[in-house]
Amino acid sequence: MSSTSSPAPTTPETGTARVKRGMAEQLKGGVIMDVVTPEQAKIAEDAGAVAVMALERVPADIRKDGGVARMSDPDMIDGIIEAVSIPVMAKSRIGHVVEAQVLQALGVDYIDESEVLTPADEVNHTDKWSFTTPFVCGATNLGEALRRIAEGAAMIRSKGEAGTGNVVEAVRHMRQIRGEIGRLRALDNHELFAAAKELRAPYELVKEVAGLGKLPVVLFSAGGVATPADAALMRQLGAEGVFVGSGIFKSGDPAKRAAAIVKATTFYDDPKIVADVSRGLGEAMVGINIDTLPDGERYASRGW
């Protein structure tokens, strides 16, 4: 998107694809942190977060508590918007158009149509083109990412498995997406039509990705990052930034760990710096082995 030149509009236009996707470009190299109170939001901002995700419960607690997970209370989102000057994101349930409308009305800077919440529609995702507020969506593979972009997502995050403190699924999904992009690069024009069919994604997007060698929107990683080394690993695998959910505020020293993850995300390719910032962080979140999760509790399988 950033390489295409078009005439400047004469009257100011909000909500353009360039403004929505461009917002995510500004977050690159950064860390987006889940927070549940204004105090946590301030800790995240002071640690150098590029944005916060306002939630009622972090994914680890959603897992523990069970029940239906929904959009957060508007008062809570207002409180967090009030507390910080960095961008504030919030989650809507997959396909819950009204939750997304409410979040836009509250003035959040980005909406995460998220598998961490309980899906509201098992067939359709939200038409994200119809919103001024940009959307980020999760994906486990390239076809899923491109279907979300076709629906208007202006940013993609690999899903991982939220609330586990286990990076294995984040690695799997990032390798899957990047690997599929690499394979598209090797195809000739005749083969791209069949590739689009196999990916179940629009041909035009498949062709664009094959040409660019990357998604046409920013790609972050999410779901299981708990340490500075985890964040640096995801960057080395091609993530342009990371979301950290439960990993910070479920750890022993959130302020210190948050600042360390920010530094490791910038200097992801410098093991000495990653080592330095990893010292004395206190306890990491305990974490869950994915193969002990029952199928119904695997959030990454939500969304299609």
Binding site: A8, T14, R18, E25, Q26, K28, I86, P87, P134, F267
Partner: protein, 196 residues
Amino acid sequence: MTSPLIGVLALQGDVREHLAALTGAGARVTAVRRPEELAEVEGLVIPGGESTTISKLAHAFGLLEPLRARVRSGMPAYGSCAGMIMLADKILDPRSGQETVGGIDMIVRRNAFGRQNESFEAAVAMAGVPGGPVDGVFIRAPWVESTGALAETLAVHRGHPVAVRQDHLLATAFHPELTGDHRVHALFADMVRTAR
């Protein structure tokens, strides 16, 4: 004459877009994250991003003082959006501990045009950039609240300066690096060549 080597401060933000725009404007480019990398470049772009994050990382990794020293000694620098904030002598509403490099005698207001829902594109006529208005992409953008005698306003939008130059320093509230139009970067590359 070899083309100038221009760095892009790569702590956080839309570094890749600036590297591409500078290359398109005929410069050689490199990413800058360390003081020794800063010492190599003839000019520096501070990209768009989160100004609080960039400021904290610059401070934590010992870049703030070297940046100030080089800007004081005449190294050309260009900042877009967060980069404009970093080049301002003063922020109207800084977060606690938010420090700037400074150099341009101006006061900026962060997120002055509003939150993301108010972010917009508009045609902006910019002095020193030939060929008609540029596509101004304003994303949670700052504006310049006031300028001192030495700072020259190059563009105004909704009554506020959004592009400013002071000698070897250039700042825009908007993001030319997102548009594929390299004229603003060409202006900066010329500033770097002139400063040689």
